[in-house]
Symmetry: D3
Subunit: 286 residues, 6 copies
């Protein structure tokens, strides 16, 4: 069960409006790697977690914090949208190229649909969707995704930091960058912890019996593209990171099965079937 | 530029049809973590890669291999779809509960839309989409995503392995499990390599200046959910995995900003504004 | 800022598993009118609200409660998914038609993707998306949507109540039905309150000047479909609910503008233009 | 069955082109609350209506009118798209900031995909989709949605009215504003009529037996967010609008169920299970 | 402007209910090639048509007919959904395998969301969307798409014909098959007419100047896949169907450009750049 | 199985950057009719093809070529994105209207998400999705779609040719135009070949028995829109293109079935049912 206080975790106040930047900031609100994604992802992982104790607690703690980040960015966007030019005439009225760029570079739905408020959508106005998140039930697989989410998220915030001069915006981004630093470290530490606790190892899922996979292909690098620079990498020779194998390198791909020939389909589905005889001239219909 | 041979990388032939399993197998073809995702993701990462040499080569090699995996699974699905019951009458005609389960558990579009062929969609028939992939331009962020993709992918293949008795299907899954083992290891090795080459470190992006983030929050675990089991984890004390900080633990969240109050919006957008006076009885319209 | 306790607002425990019902229950979790929708919608409306005080408080109160309902349904779904048959063989093994129906009627992604956990998706596995919610900035427009959301939501829960015999599931649904009763009443009361406070009236937006619309069409019922039963309704005569007009009835539609003829387009876009002369034989290309 | 005449219901002719406004106008064509939504929604509600007579007639009448509004807006957009600059060079050629704003603020797909024609998409080019509409079979639930759709729609048209100076565009918008006024009133009247006819009451669905819901929670306002301004509202005390209860106010949320603990999942799905013993050190794999 | 009569163009009445077939029939209502697609596509093409006269008339005629087909299929689906089992218990109650198959093979949203009515969605419940249609402004390109739409549509209806024994359903499908026969012929005839009228020729767009394309590649078949069976086809030698060239056959693809090397990106975007020196050991950060 | 060489099929190098054009070029990469669509469509058609020999070879040849076109356009977009202004301040800093137009007309996700790389999305940033492609199993239906895809694709490339002055971009577009010319011709030739080989005829599917359709409607043009210009076309009289019928013209539509009346629904779904008696005053609830 959740509760809410009206104060924000950190300040979310621009020094001035900029509707074009508001559109861009939507990427870290409702884009694939935005705060809606991490909030929802960690909560679903927590609610699905069949392992009570510190891991479940961790997921619910951080998921709850992220809902507060959604709140901060929503607040910031609402404030950035003030005083925007509404029409092309208005945008061009003063001899101010910035005004025209803001008009043309903004998201029309911010005004028409949301009346100067945030949208659960990315920087192009494409709605957030549930396929952005994964809660697989396997914590090691999911913690790797969580590292990724924080890495991609911090990368995007860092890029946004270079897309504005506004001190108030930058102040909030500095806070988000720091939390993303913490969260990247936290999920990396959680991966270590899972291994220390003996719960899971690479490759995921550890519990799948080794004997059941085609082990001849389990540590072999196969080169499908001309040029052999890839052979120089850590991944083409030496011990594998999972500690269970030795990388080998194959310079050319080998096909292990012949050309597939499909049988004629069910005639009631009216696909084009192989012709009756050996020529290509058969008739399917009498 | 690409070329193709008709042989398959590995055999993709079931011992018998099972349209309900064909629907399930779609998850690793056109689902979020399926072969279409990894094929497209590695190729886009390769095409965007601004660093010539072994990394770019690696991405294009493996992306090309994955297109061949798409081909194998498509072939398997086409074969699994043979001989399916087409109507509820047919499904119930013989006293065979398996037939009824296959009819009802299959994807109707496999027959109506694709005429017994595969679809670029997941196990519920939801189409694959471009938001499933990321090519961010930052190799460390992307290699972490690639580890995740292979971990989630192998997890799903391992689950599918337990959802069928068909020896031919299991044979192909054994191969895919082995390649996913290789690819998890490979991306982990590539992460090591990036660090060895001095190109990137955690947290991503390393190049963002430390001094520009709010460092007070960069290594602090904040507990937003009742219960303090999370304090026992590696993420709440000790050195951080990036080697740059020391984790601390805060048992209660602190708000660092007051309640946000938004100004009245542009009246031309007809939002409900704060009332004119102090009561709640203002009129927006004269 | 949000915080969380581990206890649930209300019990969410089935007496037994039923993966086919779990699929159905997803509709009120991640469907258009599910708990993810109301939670997100009320919070976004609250964060965008430019009117401090009781309305903003109301939106954030109830939005926060709804996040806890998301949590309850997620928990229920995870429990309903236990012990499901994984393959068609397993489904048909015992002579138990219920098992076959559960296998075939369940959502494969619950197992392959989520490992027996909930998904942010509807009863067909289509992901929740941000277009499901609206926060327009105009409270009267949004409160009408909120009444609708609670009405559609309660309707769906009532239908689900008739789709299971499980006492534990029914217990949770009884609670949700009661909260939906409260919330329908609450948004209706909020509509009354907005009017009492003099903030908004019908038609929305009240502040748009009456003189600016084509008033001849503002209270006229026009009959576009054969049959005049519609003339018997409250909407075809008598005073209009907004208290500003009198309904009239027009038995046949009238066209107020001639057939539109579009000019030839820009030839650089290669649309098929009107032929050069009056015959139909013009050539666009020399 | 439908028929068509070439004349338009009302004039749809701008005084001049403006491709940036054409992009914005798409919101009320193919956005969530646009004319495609209301046309399709009313027709599906009509076709599903199991109650012959005035209600079914009403739905089919108005749905048919709305298809004609789709036609008008399509025509307007095609005309607004004429004479647009096609390249950045063209946009910047004359010293005309309006031209640059039009180029940059327009939707590229209007030209590349549609050759200067309308698209079934919103103001950001996101395609209209079927999840925008609901036809639930319960008329009271749906009529509330219809009021909402007309309120949100009129709000958006009123905002667009302030986003252009073009007299021809404003003329058409004046007509749409008037029809939205009519339609808001009409659905409100239809709600009254349903109640007068004794067919449905609040809360929806009335037919669900009161005794089957947890009545203790059916009229209770629960405050989940700090600050008690919400207690001042109509929704926290006094009789409920459905006439069946009395609102009460609870200042703090209460949890009615303990922390949920999920059982270990099916090992064949390879989730991370609770460790074997009481420490955190169990091994899932032998 | 449109008007409606209550009678249907053709009968749409099943002899009995079958909710599993109702789910399948959705494919030709709200799937990619269903009636919603052709109705909307022809109307948008008509409204965008800048060529007054018989072509515009044709598009609006047929688009209007198709709205009536949407109505027929909606009616049929509503009737097929009657008497469906609502729960797994109900499905298994009688010893009737058909009932279990119908329960498990049906679309849950038909009942939970639509209360036994049709949905604007495909046979998997994925919503119809605007990207299914194209109105390009070029009639020849669009008429080819229209032939396709009718061919794919008739193919799907023919398959559905083999998925039911119900005489009433088959009667309606027989009508739709006939109209699809007419419409395939009609668009083929319209292609002939366009050419006769001298308005457009292949390749589309004819008006693009021949001299502006790389003509060396305009009639050359290039073989990218092992095996040369393709060389036997009409497309590898002889005159081209547009009457403007002669096909040639190239047995191996040739690359006409070297390996692309991208410059280092803007450092403010934090992509992984080429290392400073020639080794792989550069540091991006000081 | 696929392999890759590093060289490109044709040069993909602009003379200078233009991020606004890069956004537009996305349409032919990840839009409905872009290279991702044709590549995936032909490969899926090939993998599903149950007819070994020249047709399957053709599909796999050309699908493989198209993957190389995806590569070329990705490369071009990455290069066009260099040196773009990142903020509105930067865009307005120099007195350069082109810079402002580029900033405002570009896709923010190109920088924030992709770090100056291509996206699998259209010109509005809407992700590519699997519903864009069809592989129906019926080659004639699919070859007609393939003609369409190449016609729409060439039309879009021709439009883009007029949206830039950059010689390097135009050079690549000239190549794509030529290949689209080839591919339009090739699919037209493949249609001829299918007929010559006696495999399929119009209408699709030929194998559906003529006697099973309502032949009275199979060659009849019905006029649903006022105005009879359509009667002048090839489609309203004379022999039908399939050589099996004679077109007729009906000036007014006829309804062949009465008004549909649906029975009351299952009361457990709480739809609004017909009232109990003949008045409109029935009560559903006791």
């Amino acid at each position: 069960m959740f509760s809410h206080i009206k104060d924000l975790q950190f300040e979310a106040k621009p020094d001035g409006p900029d509707a074009a930047f508001a559109r861009r900031l939507q990427e870290v609100l409702g884009g694939k790697w935005g705060e809606m994604t991490v909030a929802t992802q960690y909560l679903f992982q927590g609610w699905s977690c069949r392992l009570p104790g510190k891991y479940k607690d961790l997921l619910l703690d951080v998921g709850t914090e992220e809902v507060g980040h959604v709140e901060m960015i929503c607040t910031m966007i609402a404030r950035l949208l003030d005083s925007a030019p509404l029409s092309v005439q208005e945008a061009a009225a003063e001899d101010n190229p910035m005004l025209a760029a803001i008009y043309a570079g903004s998201n029309p739905a911010h005004f028409i649909h949301a009346g100067s408020g945030p949208l659960p959508a990315d920087s192009n106005g494409v709605p957030w969707n549930g396929a952005f998140i994964t809660a697989s039930g396997n914590l090691l697989a999911d913690f790797h995704l969580n590292v990724t989410a924080e890495a991609q998220g911090r990368l995007q915030v860092a890029r946004l930091f270079n897309m504005t001069d506004d001190p108030g915006v930058k102040k909030m981004l500095r806070f988000l960058l720091a939390r993303d630093t913490m969260h990247q470290n936290m999920w990396l530490a959680a991966i270590e912890q899972l291994k220390e606790d003996g719960l899971e190892e690479m490759p995921v899922p550890e519990a799948f019996p080794d004997a059941e996979q085609e082990n001849a292909f389990a540590y072999q690098y196969i080169d499908f593209s001309e040029g052999q620079e890839a052979a120089e990498g850590r991944w083409a020779s030496g011990p594998s990171p999972d500690g269970k194998g030795e990388f080998s390198y194959q310079a050319q791909p080998t096909a292990h099965a012949g050309e597939p020939v499909l049988p004629a389909g069910d005639p009631r589905l009216y696909g084009t079937p192989p012709p009756a005889g050996s020529s290509g001239a058969g008739k399917k219909k009498k």
